[in-house]
Each structure stands twice: as structure tokens, then as C-alpha cells.
Amino acid sequence: MPRTAEESDAGSRALSWQRRWFDVHSWIGLKLSILMSFILVTGTIAVFSYEIDWLLNPEMRAFSEVDARPASWGTLYDSATAAYPDGELRFLQVPHGTWWASQATLVDPAGGLMRIWLHPQTARYQGATRWFNVQRFLRQAHRHLMLPTRVGIVLVSLLALPLLLSLITGLITYKRFWRGWWKWPRFDRAPRIWLGDLHRWLGLWAAWFVLLIGLTSVWYLVEVSGGSAPAFPNPAPVATREAALPQGFDGAALDRAVAMAQAQAPDLKIMRISLPGQPAAPVSVFGQRSALLVRPRANAIHVDPLTLTVMGEYRGEQLSVHQRLSEMADPLHFGTWGGLASRLVRFVFGLALSALSITGIYIYGLRVLKRSRHPRWPQTVTAR
């Protein structure tokens, strides 16, 4: 049945709106393409930045010995302090994975941070690496372009807005997009066709991921603009002492402090221990309990290193909604919430998102190139 004039008008109006949305989509993708691609690629590689460091530094590798039990926190402490008697030990943490050494972080006499690597079972000192490594480079480049965080985080997280707008405009301009999930790109056609197919196909499959990255980045923007979550509950004041650690504090004392914490919270899976950097601070034991999507610091037990009594405790479930949102942002954005499997998913979709940016740029280039070579091409087609 022939279309009426009214239907035809409505059709061209819709087309014109779609065209405008498409122009917005291309404009955003094009103008911010260089910076956006840099942020997306560094963020994607950062997912496995620890592993890159692991490959580069033999000190970070440790292989399990048969029937050996993990070294106690106190043994690790003694080993680290024996290796660096002049250093100020600040953190001890569980190995990153099965083939990893335990890490101790200390402030060296020159005031710089160092990473000390210890065998997780024998506590043997394996070596030290500097604080700045591949992981730090990728983190700082991706998070704030190495700029002052006040400026850098704002600049980077502002990119979340065009990212989300690209998602919305992309879905609007893709007619009946729900049919596109199973439309395999036509790789046998000209580059502009198969790249366009690939761009749309990746965009559809990665839409949830774009939304996730966009929203968590908006959250970082909120945090840096003054909306950061309130601090965790403070422990009760510790007994007075003169130095950061009591006289004679050693690995055995740390083991007793950890035992106190573990008795207080038997379900706490200890991930990290923070040692006091000043006399008013406690030994803090952090880890995972039952709360979902929180970092280890959301569950803590504070122990006085002098009296070895528990001075305070909080757990993920007790935190406010604001604090939980803040805790949730990192595991979701980094993909660390489900271990290696979720990081793999994060990496694959990170690649897809980077490819979206790069293929988008290339498609635009091909399109304008074609238009410039055939300036009257659209009219010719219409005439046919």
C-alpha cells in the first residue's frame, strides 16, 4: 500500500532526529577520541598490571612447598624487619595469587615507599622492589594522567559523561538494535562495512559494560567533587606510648595481636595488616567477611599494640549506604569482585570498549574520505 503524505512526513522527521543523534554520537566519538582511547587502553591493560609486574620481577614470584603451612603474620614481620632494620614497616598483605610472594610495604630511611617480597610459607626474604612499578604507572596514568589528583581525576572522570552519551545515542541511532546481538559482522565486505558491523556488534555486547564503567566513573567524579563517603568508625584511644610501636614489639607480639583480632571475628579472612605509623594509632587488621562488593578495608579490627586489647571493630554490613556505594565502586570498576574470572571478563570487555573507540574513529575517517572523493555521491544514489 502506498504511504500517505502524513506518514512520509513522520518518517522523514524521525529520520532527521535519528540523523541528529547520530551526529552527536560521531561528534563525541571523534573530538575526544585521542584522550578517550588513551584512557580506555590504559584502563584495560591495568587489569593485569600486577601480573605484568610479576613477570618482570622474580622477587614477586613464590611457589608453594608441599605440606607447608602459611607463615604467620609475625614471622613475616620479623623477616621484613630483619631485612630492613632501619625501615618503617607499614603494611603486610596476603599474596595476590597462588604463585605470588607476600608483600610488606615499608618506608625506607629516605622517606620513600618500598615493597618487600617474602615467601608466603617460609617467610624468607626474596627481595625488594620500588613503590613505583608498572601497576603504579598504569594506575596513575589511567586515573589522573599523572596530574595532581584534584585536576586529573576530574578530567578523566568527566569523560564518563560523553561515554554515557555515546551509549545512549548509539542505541537510539541503531534501528531495532535488539536484533543486532546475533548479527555476525560481515568480514568479507569492504572495510567500511565490516568495521561498521563490528562497531555496532561490539557496542551491543559491551553496552552493559559501558554503562558500568560510565556510572562508576561518574561516582569518582562525585567523590572528587566533595561527595566522598564519611570516614570509617574510629577506634577507642590506645594506651599512651612514645614511639609508633611499643619498645620490643616483634613478630610474636604481632601474632598475639592478630590472634586477638581473629578471636573477636573468627569469620574474618585476613587480607592485610596495617602497622601504626605514629604513637596514637593501633594495629589494624583488614579483610573480608560476609559483606558483598567491599574492599578489605571495609571490615576491620583495631588492636592496641601495647596492651594487645581490641580497641574497635566494624564490618561491611554496618557501613552506611554512602560508604557501601564508595566501597562498591572499585571492585565493579576494576572487575576484582569475582577474582581472576571477573578480571578476565573485565579485560575482554575493556578491549571491546577500546576497540569501539578506535573502530569508530576509523569508520568516521573512511566515511569522510569517501564523501570527499565523491562529493555528489548521495544525490547520485537518490537519482537511481
Binding site: 584522550l35 584502563g43 629516605a110 596495617s274 605509623g277 575517517g365 573512511l366
Partner: protein
């Protein structure tokens, strides 16, 4: 001259490409500074070639409640160093200072500060003639510094 697709894109991003490239170059250019541990944009590190009198001045704000510490490194030939925090002179040493005594020593500058407090710190170092350059560093050691560092530990 005919341009390829990327050449056309390059042409079309005209004014946008430079700020983006400047940011990326800044990022990569600042990496060596980060590598030396002079990073995080806290008021750290200043260097001056010592003559008879060296005055170093900085302003900083604490990230969290706590103590502000100062550490001297490489200070050679210092005589009678004096320091003031927010205009109030704070003694560095109760006893006479020997030459080179400051090297690697740490001093508390301000007892307790609140987050966001600003401390204008002036250090006057009277040095022997022809002394070596003086390097000094400010370190924020608040109770929340551990949490800050832990947060920094995460990959993003």
C-alpha cells in the same frame, strides 16, 4: 596530497587534538617524576643551592588529621637552622647543631592539624659558605594516611 582515513580524522579533530595530546604528553612526561617518588603533589621536595643564607618556603595542606613531619636529606654544613610553622618559630634542636647533624633526621613540625588545615612552613638554613645543596621533604603522617595509601594500592 591525498589523506588516508586517519589523516582525515586528524584534520577533523583540529582544535581538539592539541589539548588531548598535551595532556597525554604531560602524563608520560611526568612519569619519571612519579618514578623518583616525588609524586602525589603534596608539598614535597625543594632544592636550593646554599649560599650564606637559604630560605625555603612552602604551603601545604594535610590530607588528614595528624602530624606533619619534616625530614632533612643531604644537608651538609648547616648552622643554626630555624623553622617556623604559621609564623610561630619552632625550635629544631634543643642542643647546638653540629655540621651534618641534620642529615636524615626527622622533626615534628606541627603537633596536630585538622584535615584541610594549611601550614605555611618556612625554614631558614644558615649554611657555611660554599655548602652543598639542601634538599628537604615534607611528609604527611596522619592516621588516615594508611587508608590513603591502601586506597592508592588498588588498581584503577
Amino acid at each position: 596530497m591525498s589523506l588516508g582515513p586517519l589523516g582525515r580524522v586528524w584534520q577533523d579533530v583540529a582544535v581538539w587534538r592539541w589539548p588531548c595530546l598535551v595532556l597525554i604528553c604531560l602524563c608520560l612526561g611526568l612519569t619519571p617524576i612519579a618514578c623518583q617518588g616525588l609524586y602525589d603533589w603534596q608539598p614535597r621536595g625543594a632544592q636550593a643551592v646554599a649560599e650564606r643564607l637559604v630560605t625555603l618556603e612552602t604551603k601545604g595542606s594535610l590530607r588528614s588529621a595528624g602530624k606533619l613531619e619534616m625530614r632533612f636529606g643531604g644537608a651538609v654544613g648547616l648552622v643554626d637552622p630555624r623553622l617556623s610553622v604559621n609564623g610561630v618559630v619552632a625550635p629544631l634542636h634543643e642542643e647546638p647543631v653540629d655540621e651534618q647533624a641534620l642529615d636524615g633526621d626527622r622533626y615534628l613540625l606541627a603537633a596536630v592539624q585538622q584535615p584541610g588545615d594549611r601550614a605555611a612552613i618556612t625554614i631558614e638554613l644558615h649554611t657555611a659558605q660554599g655548602a652543598s645543596p639542601v634538599v628537604w621533604t615534607l611528609i604527611d603522617r596522619g592516621p588516615n594516611a594508611a587508608a590513603d595509601e591502601e586506597r592508592d594500592e588498588e588498581t584503577r
